[in-house]
Symmetry: C2
Subunit: 202 residues, 2 copies
Amino acid sequence: MIKLIGMMDSPYVRRVAVSLELYGVAFESQPLSVFSTFEEFSRINPAVKAPTLVLENGTRLMDSSLILNYFEAQAAPERRLLPVTPDALANDLQTLGFILAAAEKAVQNVYEHNLRPAEKQHNPWIERITVQLLAACREWNALLEARPENAVADQVAVTSTVIWTFIQSMIPHVVNAGDFKKIQAVADVFENQAAFKKYPFS
Amino acid sequence: MIKLIGMMDSPYVRRVAVSLELYGVAFESQPLSVFSTFEEFSRINPAVKAPTLVLENGTRLMDSSLILNYFEAQAAPERRLLPVTPDALANDLQTLGFILAAAEKAVQNVYEHNLRPAEKQHNPWIERITVQLLAACREWNALLEARPENAVADQVAVTSTVIWTFIQSMIPHVVNAGDFKKIQAVADVFENQAAFKKYPFS
């Protein structure tokens, strides 16, 4: 069976888990940590990156967007999470780009504070990524506001929800939920759906 | 006309430039820096991430894999840079995953040394990402060795070549070219092709 290696406290691992559930792809979740189980993880993937997805033939895929590329290409039309027409695809990829930029800057913030002693933290870097993080959140919120309401999960809904839950769980003091009401509203809708509840942030 | 914002010293910008050239997509290169021209860049993309690709209708795409997803989906069959059959696609995505993991760790190494004063650099972090970088390069080299020789550029050839040139230009003291002969041989072939010479690392 397909194996998904990584913990659900990584928004990238959770993005893949929820998407696979929506595609109807069966998989086994193996919640190894890239920190506390570095050696064990490295025996599966020497680059020690989560998520790592191991196909039945042993092929190891990593990087959540590349993994999803593989499954999206094979999804039945009614299971697809991205649109097919170029303009609609560009629109969703634009939104995903801002969401993933926010995710990257949020992860950099968490790493800066959690993986370094205080004297090795660099304030100009923290200030730079915070400006980028908040700017990305503003674009993300505005792009969601411009989308029609839809309670059926697509890739924008999945990624928006898991990244927002990660940000609000880890650095709510940096990104004030009240400033991004549309992102919060989307997360409130989808976190209550079965695919998201099956793989909660943890 | 489509605009590609970012400098060719970013392997992600160069990856997109060379790929667009191979797809036959006309674009204008606008070499703004995310550092020295932060303000100017932020007026186009407030998240200040390179590459940013601006479509003719103003849609802003970012993240090289998302940008390439958009163009790959529309490429004529003979221009595609990724295979279509699931096993071949998985195989190429596996190789791209290791190459992009190496790229990420190489960029983190460069950022650690170039964006922080010496006293803010954190040796345990540098050691961790160096282990990951070299492990990713070993997998990358082995996966290239297992591929049939091919002088026609596909996405693995593009990404492998631009990331290797970046690594060998920026941190050759960390990644010894002599240890990764197949990666070097592939880069030697493709850096001599027109699409790569049109957008050199700079």
